[in-house]
């Protein structure tokens, strides 16, 4: 399809250049391959998600899927431009997919109306690139751990390229936003730089209870203290309008009592749900940057952003790209320490080996695998519950998998520098699954 729609794209994909990525091969084949072989998952179909789906579809990608657990609300309509008044109450993912397919010919978008945790890992593994348009740290952290979970390292602790699942993460808050490229194992993952997120503002409970000074104090009092006092046992649901209305009216009464102005229903929602007013233009700018990076990763038509763009439109306009570095010991994306073991090695022997291992020198270790605590050195209650595992072969405790990721906590280091630490280990068992092709990567 060489119609007018791909005219601008063709300038990037059909011509050589000197600012291109390392393996760039311009030509119509590239354009066709992008259409045929690249599958993109967009996580979130809200303010950013709507923009992303539109931008990616118009950037020539044909196979898109979108996942979002929310339904459309009236308050979304000012910026989530794919939705109309009659769509209120419908799943965002479904309506967004339908609208973009109606307007952009040739694109296929599969919607998923569910929580991101509801999908099997296999679901995420099928995409070439995952693009995030989310508003929470929890959801980003989850997707990041899933994508980094596919990453494998070779024996030199170098990431295996075919296991790298690229992510492009966008985020906005009012007039501010960011776009970043995460190539697990190559650029810092979300967890490497989680400290970038400012701590949440939390008011002391006693201030709320005794000396409120602001409208937000009154709202948090109604939300955190008064709610429990009146509704014993019933938990507060921020998505239930009746609950929100109740908090608003209690907050208003309290504000009146203390002579504090400014409590409104919108502010109540804002404080309780931690909402910062969204700005349509910020979403558009951040989404454009994300879509472009996605195109660059897939096609190689230019080097990718390295690796974190911030945008600030509060006063004038300021954008900046910062190259953050990986945390080499990151528990999520790092290679971890490699250990090769006999299948007969018991958990006790394994723990003893950690003391001798030159990269670890770890004593008193506790061991965790796949969400299970194999051994806990403390507290005594858990030590007792896990002690019986010590005599069992680690291979069996790891469900007879030839390779696996184990996390250990203990005291490590030498002399005065001994300190408690948490390490990731890449364990492989000798003489198991040699014929298994998976082994080549893991060991």
């Amino acid at each position: 399809m060489a119609g007018s729609r791909s005219r601008d794209l063709d300038k990037l994909l059909l011509r050589p250049g000197h600012l291109v990525g390392p393996a760039f091969e311009p030509g119509t084949q590239l354009r066709d391959d992008l259409e045929e072989y690249v599958r993109i998952l967009v996580v979130g179909a809200g303010g950013l998600g709507c923009e992303l789906l539109k931008d990616l579809a118009l950037s020539g990608f044909r196979n898109l899927e979108v996942i979002d657990m929310d339904t459309i609300e009236v308050s979304n309509l000012n910026r989530q431009f794919l939705f109309r008044l009659e769509d209120v109450g419908e799943p965002k993912a479904q309506v967004a997919a339908k609208r973009v397919m109606e307007r952009v010919s040739g694109v296929n978008i599969v919607p998923h109306f569910c929580r991101i945790e509801d999908k099997e890992l296999h679901f995420y593994s099928q995409f070439s690139i995952i693009v995030l348009g989310l508003d929470s740290i929890e959801a980003r952290s989850y997707i990041n751990s899933v994508a980094c979970g596919f990453l494998e390292y070779d024996s030199n602790d170098e990431p295996l390229e075919e296991t790298v699942k690229p992510m492009v993460d966008g985020g906005t808050e009012g007039f501010k936003g960011h776009a970043r490229v995460i190539l697990p194992g190559m650029t810092p993952c979300f967890e490497c730089t989680i400290w970038l997120f400012p701590p949440q503002v939390k008011f002391p409970l006693c201030t709320l209870a005794e000396t409120p000074r602001t409208a937000a104090h009154c709202i948090e009092y109604a939300h955190l203290i008064k709610w429990d006092e009146v509704h014993s046992g019933k938990s507060f649901d921020p998505d239930n309008p009746e609950h929100m209305q109740w908090v608003y009216s209690e907050a208003s009464k309290r504000a009146q009592l203390f002579g504090i102005p400014g409590v409104t229903y919108t502010l109540t929602q804002g404080v309780v749900k931690n909402i910062i007013p969204a700005i349509a233009s910020t979403n558009a700018i951040i989404s454009a940057a994300c879509a472009l990076e996605t195109l660059k990763i897939a096609s190689g038509c230019s080097k990718t952003l390295s690796n974190y763009l911030t945008y600030n439109g509060v006063e004038g306009l300021h954008t900046k790209v910062t190259e953050f570095v990986k945390d080499k010991d990151c528990l999520v994306c790092g290679p971890g320490v490699f250990m090769e073991l006999e299948t007969s090695v018991t958990l006790k022997m394994f723990i003893d080996q950690l003391e001798e291992h030159p990269q670890l020198l770890m004593s008193g270790a506790s061991v965790r695998f796949g969400g299970k605590n194999l051994y806990m050195a403390a507290p005594p209650l858990l030590e007792e519950m896990t002690r019986s595992n010590l005599g069992l072969p680690l291979f069996e405790l790891m469900d007879k998998s030839p390779t696996g990721i184990v996390h250990v906590t203990g005291t490590a280091g030498k002399g005065d520098k001994r300190q408690s630490c948490l390490r990731k280990l890449r364990v492989a068992f000798k003489a198991v699954g040699i014929t298994d092709t998976d082994m080549a990567g893991g060991a």
């Binding site: 072989y37 952290s141 751990s145 999520v332 299970k372 403390a378 906590t409």
Partner: protein, 183 residues
């Protein structure tokens, strides 16, 4: 990465439905950090911890404190801890399960302890919080009141505060409020 995507997409089409590896449960970074906190707990004799959902769910647990000094000597107080998947970016949610007559703990179990809210830092850990809670029983303070009546009594009439605490812990009324026995 188009070449790689192309190869993988062709493989995927071939391998459709021949799902290889068994799914491994996804662990959050929060769980791992909590695993470290828990395995390093160093509690005073007066505090104990239990895991109602068994050894593999560390994200929900209970801490029981039996103060060995001060107004609350002899009482037993249980706190529930809920840990989020982005711990330690976010502080644990802690509530007191035992109804207690205390200036800094209200009758619904909300606790006014600075490190649980405004002063939480990711370098703090579960041990710090437990020591902080223990400290609330040895040094209740009337300056951060969550139970205003109790705080006023502690400030104006410590003798009366002491007898109110004894009465509440033994199981009985303080003013209009009934407290169940926790000795």
């Amino acid at each position: 990465m188009i070449k790689l995507f192309k190869v993988k997409e062709k493989q995927r089409e071939l391998a459709e439905n021949s799902n290889g590896k068994p799914p491994v449960k996804k662990q959050s970074a929060g769980e791992l950090r909590l695993h470290k906190d828990i395995s390093e707990l160093n509690l005073p004799k007066t505090c104990s911890i239990s895991f109602p959902n068994g050894k593999d769910d560390l994200m929900n647990f209970e801490v029981t404190i039996r103060p060995d000094d001060g107004y609350y000597l002899g009482g037993t107080f249980t706190f529930t801890f809920q840990i989020s998947s982005i711990y330690p970016h976010e502080a644990p949610k802690v509530k007191c399960k035992t109804k207690v007559y205390h200036p800094n703990i209200d009758l619904d179990g909300n606790v006014c302890l600075n490190i649980l809210r405004e002063d939480w830092k990711p370098v703090l850990n579960i041990n710090t919080i437990i020591y902080g809670l223990y400290h609330l029983f040895t040094e209740p303070n009337h300056e951060d009141p969550l139970n205003r009546e109790a705080a006023a009594v502690l400030r104006d009439n410590p003798k009366m505060f002491e007898s109110n605490v004894r009465r509440a812990m033994a199981g009985g009324y303080v003013g209009q409020t009934f407290f169940t026995r926790c000795i």
